[in-house]
């Protein structure tokens, strides 16, 4: 495969879309516009961005409760995401799901889940489909450090390995499962090293470095498409907002720690690198930021003005029609 330069500005734009949409959602949560939970992706933007940059609509993503970033990076619009959290008919799940149930199979977003774990198995299952159908698509699971201690991780990675499925397992190790430190919850302190237990590569990357994630995902996808099987990628990162909007954040971690990680903001770091290495100008980046801002403002207005779902549709689609 020929070496190509990463699409720097596209990566930057996607991270901006995620960050600005999340900040808008956090404000909306305070205003009471969001009816259920709201787990933001602030601080982790580089991961969804770096992985999904390689994916086509026919490649599929299965995600978790912290899935806004994955949905946006996979092509769900901010308008459809915000409207979903507002419970509106125009939301990506027609108001059926909210923050934890984001569906847009048209763009390969096969769903986020309120249950920790199943996405790992579903990405393996998609891999099985693609192998059987002889297509060159890949199935990707995004999950947190909390999910790796769930049985689904063990069963899913083992099966993906023995059948050499075209699947990617992207663990976003933000070091906490709600308030439980990964150090406490795992006997083996690294996730990447577990790849060896299943006979697959386990790669550790700086999850706040979008280019590192981008490169790791690229290699993993090449491997998957070559029929060589799945890859486990551990992205070390940190969420800089509370587990869920409205929750306290300093009973289990310190302000200093959070501030230190905010200083490693993946978006600011990437911007500085692009400018320092003359890969983009300050003006180009500012223009992107402004365009995204306008888009998010528009998305917010769209969502606020969107109709509620028709209550007579509450029980449609229980079965295939």
């Amino acid at each position: 495969m020929p070496e190509t330069t990463p699409p720097y500005l596209r990566l930057y734009r996607t991270m901006q879309v995620i960050r600005q949409t999340e900040e808008q959602l956090a404000k909306s949560h305070q205003r009471g516009l969001i009816h259920g939970a709201c787990h933001t992706y602030v601080g982790q933007e580089a991961i969804a961005t770096g992985v999904c940059a390689h994916l086509r609509p026919s490649d599929v993503v299965f995600s978790t409760h912290r899935g806004h970033g994955h949905a946006l990076a996979k092509g769900v619009t901010p308008a459809a995401l915000i409207a979903e959290l507002f419970g509106r008919a125009t939301g990506c799940s027609s108001g059926r799901g909210g923050s934890m149930h984001l569906f847009s199979p048209e763009v390969g977003m096969m769903g986020t889940s309120g249950i920790v774990g199943p996405c790992i198995l579903q990405a393996a299952g998609a891999g099985y489909s693609f192998k059987l159908l002889k297509s060159d698509n890949v199935g990707v699971a995004f999950f947190g450090d909390g999910a790796v201690n769930n049985g689904a991780f063990h069963e899913g990675l083992n099966m993906a390995s023995i059948w050499k499925l075209p699947s990617l397992f992207i663990c976003e190790n933000n070091q906490f499962a709600t308030e439980v430190p990964f150090k406490y919850a795992a006997g083996n302190p690294t996730v990447a090293s577990r790849g060896a237990a299943y006979g697959m590569p386990g790669i550790e990357v700086d999850g706040n470095d979008v280019l590192a994630v981008y490169e790791a995902a690229k290699t993993a996808i090449q491997r998957a498409k070559a029929g060589e099987g799945p890859t486990l990628i551990e992205c070390l990162t940190y969420r800089t907002r509370p587990h869920s909007e409205g929750m306290g954040d300093f009973g289990y971690r310190s302000r200093e720690e959070v501030e230190a990680w905010k200083a490693r903001c993946p978006i600011r770091r990437f911007a500085e690198k692009l400018v320092a290495e003359s890969l983009a100008t300050v003006d180009e980046l500012a223009k992107i930021e402004a365009e995204v801002q306008a888009m998010v403002v528009e998305a917010q207005a769209f969502a606020e003005n969107s109709p509620w779902p028709d209550p007579s549709t509450a029980a449609t689609h229980v079965y295939a029609q």
């Binding site: 199943p118 299952g125 069963e155 083992n158 099966m159 295939a320």
Partner: protein, 325 residues
């Protein structure tokens, strides 16, 4: 029409559908070369190969969860559990993922998964190989639940399941696997939600499920000699449940008893009773009765095991008592 065993009938249906639809594949333990613990896939490995007859490790939750992802992405997995007891570890995948995916995606995703396995009490299999479970699955919207009692229905329902875009639980009582019946060759589809009247009668309606259909037929023979005329309805699927056929029968007989090996609490019989009281109250000449398996984990020792299952004699007596009301 050739005579086949229940299991051979399902194998015939499965073979025909796998021939027709290359997207169908089977996952399970020992379903490859070995042909399945209950011979559910006998001969298919040689015909369709390892990818479509996928032998799994012992990780029920894992492969049920994988089936969800596969069904969402264009294939049609069949999960062969062997014993339905073994997939309790995957109940979350079935209830939270498989059953809800079509709804949560507003119909944009389909979930054509067939989950099949053996249920029921018998052969001193004891409590981890004897569960019935269909009342549990029938509780959840989004699932279809088949409980065939006859070889022909087993084939016809299996074929329907393999053309449905909904997830289907296909539960086979292990004492039925070797019973024989006339089975139509080739295209034979039994729709979901359509009960069968397996015996016509005037005095009482018996709704019986799976193995209890056969025991109720034997009881009806005994009662016929006493001059009692028993009608037997086999719902064949419990979700959807064909309540209309049951109501029509009760309209004719005025009496209803539900015979079910599964436990009574929160069960199919209670639900049928509630529906008949609601919609057929004026047709009833007597209280609705239920005869169920005893509310206990299943014991091993033959006399204990026999005691927890409704016998032909107990069924006959329960029907006599109801007619005498």
């Amino acid at each position: 029409m050739p005579e086949l065993t229940f299991m051979k009938a399902t194998l015939e249906g499965l073979t025909e559908e796998m021939e027709l639809n290359p997207r169908i594949f089977v996952m399970g333990e020992g379903i490859g070369k070995r042909g399945g613990n209950f011979k559910t896939t006998e001969g298919l490995f040689d015909r369709f190969g390892a990818e479509r007859l996928c032998d799994t490790p012992i990780c029920e939750r894992g492969f049920v969860g994988m089936a969800a992802g596969a069904a969402m992405t264009g294939t049609r997995p069949i999960i062969d559990f062997m014993f339905a007891d073994f997939i309790m570890d995957s109940i979350g995948e079935i209830v939270n993922q498989i059953a809800k995916m079509q709804y949560m995606s507003s119909g944009r995703l389909k979930m054509p998964v067939l989950l099949r396995g053996c249920i029921g009490i018998g052969h001193s299999a004891a409590t981890h190989h004897s569960g019935n479970y269909y009342p549990l699955y029938s509780h959840f919207p989004g699932l279809r639940v088949c409980v065939p009692s006859m070889a022909a229905d087993a084939k016809g329902l299996l074929k329907t399941a393999l053309r449905s875009d909904d997830p289907v639980l296909f539960l086979e009582h292990k004492s039925l696997l070797n019973i024989k019946g006339q089975v139509p060759t080739g295209e034979h589809l039994v729709p979901f939600g359509k009960a069968a009247i397996v015996r016509e009668g005037r005095d009482v309606t018996v709704v019986a499920l799976t193995i209890m259909v056969h025991k109720s037929l034997q009881a009806a023979e005994i009662l016929a000699k006493e001059g009692l005329s028993v009608e037997i309805v086999d719902p064949r699927t419990v979700s959807p449940l064909d309540i209309d056929t049951i109501l029509e029968s009760v309209h004719k007989t005025g009496r209803l008893i539900i015979i079910d090996e599964a436990f009574a609490p929160c069960g199919v019989g209670g639900d049928i009773a509630a529906l008949v009281i609601d919609r057929g109250f004026d047709d009833l000449d007597a209280p609705i009765r239920r005869l169920n398996g005893t509310f206990t984990p299943t014991p091993y020792s033959p006399p204990l095991e026999a005691a927890v299952v409704p016998s032909v004699e107990r069924i006959a007596q329960a029907i006599r008592d109801l007619i005498a009301e």
